[in-house]
């Protein structure tokens, strides 16, 4: 059948490909500045990642792309490559131990006929977290492979000219989503023990580099003694052994809390703790009619529609003279900032009876929850109007009808934790939100983050040994090692610029020429 639209698309694609040929490589490189791992590792790396969503599912798809794809497939699923683009059932084994991990379908896509344009492989395996983790770990032990950065498959596809114009335009949104997800994840880690360790290392390394740079740029004319370098020697040695030990002992440090982070927030006595207890079906939090009962975060892991959810109840937001309560409110706001989804609980009896004014009241309320005083994105928030049993029936109907689909407001659910009225509808809305979040493998997939951190830390250690190697023969090359180490660590903790190093130099030394 003649389909003009497909021809039109074909022409478009050809034009776009021509237009982009010279530019796409540059964008790819440009993006790698932000991508994290890439800047430090070769472009020819083979990457792998779980491509299906996180959470309980029947089948999980693990994708591999890059020159070592064939090696990975051979070493994990039998020596002979399957015919291109044909699904075969194979035993999937660990390349080192030979232990069988799962039986599943494998597919082989030789370049250029694949999503990324590179050699790639897909493993369709059983969806349990244990199997997925085992397969990802096994892939990581194949030489030349590393975990993919978020969105890296798409970028490679882009580089190979496999995306059309609309997809290219979507890339900006993708990057935006990624950075948002990464930001949330980073915030979670940085407020934990692991974040503390990384920041401490980064701080030490910065000082170390500043002292070495000071010795290079100023020592001939200034009173900078060789003792400065001895100090740097010791720091580098210490750091190296600390990071190595951290890499060896994986259980140490913080177990990253997995799952979608859902935070319950709102004014005091709106019924936040009641909602938590209703959702986890047990009295996890103390409930009382006294405003300000919950002061710290109460966390509990629940299963919502088959997806792992970490539910946090927070202190009610109000101005308070009580220091403990103030801290509770601060923590509550911080949690909201780090959350994948916020449930804003409102006492429906406090709503103005006029619906127009009620909408204004709610958006005002939304802004007050966020630490930046900005209304959170509508898909990251649900409005829960609690205590519906206390409203007259007419008011309930009015609210239900008229608050649905008010632009700029997130989804609104009217319920009563007392009578469980409206709970079923709320759970449906909640489930679909959680499902959307879990369908995105970025939301709380701890194995990927951990693997990324490992890769950076390993680079950091390798770079520090460059310092040791050149310490006595060439200080410029030795300093280069510390610079590289700081760059690797900076990919976890944030970039460090030359000005920052100079600031430390001028703070620490009396430079006068």
């Amino acid at each position: 059948m003649f389909r003009p639209s497909s021809i039109h698309r074909g022409v478009c694609r050809a034009v776009i490909r021509g237009l982009w040929t010279n530019r796409r490589t540059s964008l790819h490189r440009l993006l790698s500045t932000y991508g994290g791992v890439q800047g430090g590792l070769a472009d020819a790396d083979t990457i792998f990642a779980l491509s299906s969503g996180y959470g309980r599912c029947g089948v999980a798809v693990v994708r591999v792309s890059g020159p070592a794809s064939a090696t990975a497939l051979r070493s994990m699923a039998g020596h002979r490559l399957p015919p291109p683009r044909t699904a075969l059932l194979r035993s999937i084994t660990d390349p080192l131990s030979g232990e069988m991990l799962d039986r599943g379908l494998v597919l082989w896509f030789p370049a250029p006929h694949s999503f990324t344009g590179e050699d790639s492989v897909e493993f369709h395996i059983h969806g349990g977290p244990a199997v997925i983790t085992a397969v990802l770990q096994a892939l990581g032990s194949v030489p030349g492979t590393r975990p993919a950065e978020a969105g890296e498959f798409t970028r490679r596809a882009f580089q190979a000219g496999k995306l059309d114009l609309t997809e290219v335009e979507g890339l900006g949104d993708l990057i935006h989503a990624e950075t948002e997800a990464q930001r949330r994840q980073a915030l979670r880690q940085m407020s934990g023990e692991l974040g503390h360790i990384y920041r401490d290392w980064s701080h030490k390394l910065k000082r170390c580099l500043a002292h070495i740079e000071a010795f290079i740029d100023f020592s001939e004319d200034e009173l900078i003694e060789d003792g400065v370098l001895d100090q740097a020697d010791r720091s580098v040695c210490d750091l190296q052994s600390q990071i190595e030990q951290h890499l060896r002992d994986e259980r140490r440090g913080e177990r990253l809390r997995s799952g979608v982070h859902v935070v319950i927030a709102g004014a005091t006595n709106a019924g936040k703790s009641s909602l938590l207890n209703t959702l986890c079906q047990r009295p996890a939090a103390i409930v009382s009619p006294i405003a300000g009962t919950t002061r710290d975060i109460v966390e509990t892991a629940v299963d919502i529609g088959g997806f792992p959810v970490l539910l946090s109840d927070t202190a009610g937001l109000r101005e308070s003279a009580d220091l403990v309560e103030q801290e509770g409110v601060r923590r509550a706001r911080e949690r909201v900032q780090q959350a994948d989804l916020t449930l804003l609980v409102v006492d429906s009896t406090c709503l103005p009876s006029d619906v127009q004014r009620a909408a204004g009241f709610l958006s005002e309320h939304l802004r007050s929850v966020s630490p930046s005083q900005k209304q959170p994105a509508t898909d990251m928030c649900l409005l829960v109007l609690n205590k519906s049993d206390l409203l007259p029936e007419t008011q309930r109907q009015k609210l239900k009808m008229e608050l649905r689909g008010v632009s700029g407001l997130p989804a609104v659910c009217l319920l009563s934790c007392q009578t469980n009225e409206g709970l079923k509808d709320f759970l449906t809305v909640l489930q679909s939100s959680v499902k959307t979040l879990c369908g995105d493998p970025l939301a709380g997939a701890p194995t990927l983050t951990q693997a990324r951190h490992r890769a950076h830390l390993q680079q950091c250690v390798a770079a520090l040994s460059q310092f040791q190697r050149y310490r006595d023969s060439d200080l410029a090359l030795a300093a280069e090692g510390v610079r590289l180490a700081l760059t690797s660590l900076g990919r976890i903790t944030g970039r460090v610029g030359a000005e920052e190093i100079l600031d430390i130099i001028f703070k620490d030394f009396c430079i006068g020429k």
Binding site: T25, R29, T33, I175, I216, D217, D221, Y470, G512
Partner: protein, 682 residues
């Protein structure tokens, strides 16, 4: 061989007659205002390019004056001198002519951070600069004070777009027109001098500041954002009054290394060199500073001074209770003065004398001329494009301290670059770029125009991301060839020399690579070097040269027939071999940055209304900073990755957009605009 001009320098009389004797032309391609380190390089570079150039300075006999320290080079600064020389600039050769004490700083820290440095004879430096400029073809030197810049009113089509047409001299009714004007006013723009509690207008002691008309044009007519910075200079001390036996002797290198790639030796013979002396401050110095603070205007001002070149006042106030280094440096071969590096001060002259006499070798010292402070205007350099042209004024270029930098070398580097660009503009040649990945000059320019300054900017090696590639030894390979064909500022003789060096190095490295032996054979040939056993493979000559104790000479003695022809490059080959693997691994990152820099953002872009998906914050950042390339945009604070992608899309589609609009000229304007918006990613 030294430079071609070994004959005595022309007398000032002949200089003056050359410029003032016949009436100047009515039009030049390039006018350079100022005869300091930036101005001399700018004028010479523009003339080398082929532009008919006029240099205007207050006094011809102060061209090439060293206003502050009698030295050139150092760590980072020496890198700049080598690069200016590689682009055929003057200061490297001038340093070789005037140097009286040469040393390589950081000799023990690796060749990437070696800092070639020399003490200079002030008289000889001036002589060289003046004779060089006055014998440069197409360059006219004239005494005068620029009263005003001639600028056109803004183009109504492009608001804020002025064009410079020339200059007007004080005491002259004849304007002189030019296609490009380079301003290198140094500390002279609204300059004022401070000693103790007295303040007087001036840019250097004995010299008037630049005219108020010039300041007015920059601020009011062109609306440029101007800031104020301060600097200072120490008193000059009578040599005979100093007891040098109480200071530590610091001898120069026994064999002077020239700055210039064109010179094999310096004018000063090794045994003629003069030493420097090192001494320290005492608690008495701190006491005098504290007691005289109320008499010290300059130190109380809030204009920003350099953190790394502070006056003795700020040093003892910031780091009390410490002793501070003071270097006693010769001012010339026959000069009877010493320059006390580290003792820049602005207190009243009698207190200055009391202060220096607290330092043991200076306890009977006499002051020839007191130290003083200078405050001056600078133009915030973020208002410049990477060619150092003022963004809002076509044809107006700024270089040196007017851009907020400090140091002779930083000024020279900018002067050369502004001269090249001013010349190219006047000769209607397309603009050129110098990346921070290929030179310290590029680092300097990029830092200035994309980040601006908060204190006087000085070069450090730590500012260069690719320090292992940007070495003083390879500045000719990095820049001379490019300088000849892309920039047009390099003479053919220098170019030929660089080509010969490049080919020889390539041949030598190929020969070394071809020398492939097993580990055991190498051990037999060089028994005292510990070749790692683990490496059982074959090792090439390059890999052997990477060992710390293996020099090119050692290899040449084993393979004389292949390697002896390259003996003159032995040091460079050793450095190349050691740094090669590191430079290779830098290459990918360098390429990425260069590609970003190649994607230029149109200067007239209106970020606030650009039909591209950008947040309001990002729009404001871009609107304020107006980055000239996508690379500069990515380095701005507050720019999100998503914004970069969308800008990238915009850059890519801009070309297509232009074509579309040209092709549809007959269409209604509205219709065209609709189409433009439609072709942009929303």
């Amino acid at each position: 061989m030294l430079t071609k001009k070994l004959q005595p320098v022309q007398s000032f009389l002949s200089l003056v007659s050359r410029s003032v004797g016949h009436f100047p032309r009515q039009h030049y391609d390039v006018i350079v205002v100022g005869g300091g380190h930036a101005g001399t390089e700018a004028a010479a570079a523009a003339a080398r390019l082929g532009a008919e150039t006029l240099l205007i300075t207050q006094k011809i006999h102060t061209i090439g004056a060293l206003s502050c320290n009698p030295s050139l080079g150092g760590v980072g600064k020496g890198h700049l001198v080598r690069e200016v020389d590689a682009l055929d600039g003057l200061c490297g050769r001038a340093g070789d002519w005037a140097g009286i004490s040469f040393s390589i700083l950081n000799r023990r820290k690796g060749p990437a951070v070696w800092g070639p440095r020399a003490q200079l004879d002030r008289q000889r430096y001036r002589e060289f600069m003046q004779s060089e400029l006055l014998s440069t073809p197409r360059l006219t030197v004239m005494e005068g004070s620029v009263e005003e810049l001639l600028v056109t009113d803004p183009n109504p089509e492009q608001p804020g777009q002025h064009r410079v047409n020339g200059i007007c001299l004080a005491n002259s009714s004849h304007p002189i027109s030019a296609s490009s004007v380079v301003l290198t006013t140094g500390t002279f723009l609204s300059g004022s001098l401070f000693i103790g509690q007295t303040t007087s207008p001036g840019g250097r002691i004995g010299d008037a500041p630049s005219s108020a008309g010039l300041s007015h044009t920059l601020r009011e007519r062109l609306g440029l954002k101007v800031g104020r910075l301060r600097t200072g200079t120490p008193p000059r001390i009578v040599k005979d009054s100093v007891d040098l036996s109480l200071a530590t002797l610091n001898p120069p290198d026994s064999s002077p290394t020239p700055f210039s790639f064109m010179n094999t030796h310096t004018r000063c013979r090794p045994e003629e060199q003069l030493p420097c002396y090192l001494t320290y401050t005492t608690p008495g110095v701190e006491r005098v500073v504290r007691e005289s603070l109320h008499l010290n205007c300059h130190i109380q001002q809030d204009a920003k001074g350099p953190r790394y070149c502070p006056s003795i006042e700020s040093r003892v106030l910031r780091f009390p209770g410490r002793r501070h280094q003071v270097w006693l440096e010769p001012e010339g071969l026959t000069s009877d003065l010493l320059y006390p590096q580290g003792l820049s001060m602005t207190m009243p002259p009698d207190v200055q004398l009391r202060l220096i006499r607290e330092i043991p070798p200076l306890h009977k010292a006499e002051i020839h001329m007191p130290g003083y402070g200078v405050q001056y205007d600078f133009v915030c350099p973020t208002q410049l494009s990477p060619s150092l042209q003022v963004k809002s004024t076509q044809g107006l270029f700024l270089a040196g301290q007017i851009n907020g930098t400090t140091g002779y070398e930083e000024a020279a580097a900018q002067g050369l670059w502004a001269g090249v660009n001013a010349g190219r503009r006047a000769l209607s040649k397309p603009p050129v770029a110098l990346s921070r990945t290929e030179s310290y000059i590029g680092v300097l320019i990029d830092d200035l125009v994309s980040r601006g300054v908060t204190e006087p900017y000085r070069m450090f090696t730590s500012r260069a991301e690719f320090r292992t590639s940007l070495r003083p030894d390879n500045a000719d390979l990095r820049l001379t060839l490019k300088g000849r064909f892309e920039l047009g500022c390099v003479s053919s003789s220098r170019h030929q020399k660089a080509v010969r060096v490049k080919n020889s190095l390539q041949d030598a490295l190929a020969a070394l690579q071809a020398l492939s032996l097993s580990t055991t054979s190498w051990k037999r040939k060089i028994p005292d070097v510990h070749v790692s056993e683990a490496n059982s493979n074959m090792l090439s000559g390059i890999e052997m040269l990477q060992y710390k104790d293996v020099s090119f000479q050692v290899l040449a003695s084993i393979f004389p027939e292949v390697l002896l022809p390259f003996m003159e490059f032995s040091q460079r080959l050793k450095i190349e071999a050691v740094y090669r693997p590191h430079c290779e691994s830098n290459k990918r990152e360098i390429q990425r940055i260069q590609e970003e820099e190649n994607m230029s953002l149109p200067e007239d872009i209106d970020y606030l209304s650009l039909p591209v998906s950008l947040s309001q914050e990002v729009r404001e950042v871009l609107h304020r900073a107006r980055p000239s390339t996508l690379g500069a945009a990515t380095r701005l604070e507050g720019i999100t990755p998503a914004a970069v992608v969308n800008l990238f899309n915009y850059v890519c589609f801009a070309e297509k957009r232009k074509k579309t609009s040209h092709g549809n000229q007959r269409r209604q304007k509205e219709g065209r605009e609709e189409e433009l918006c439609a072709s942009l990613p929303q």
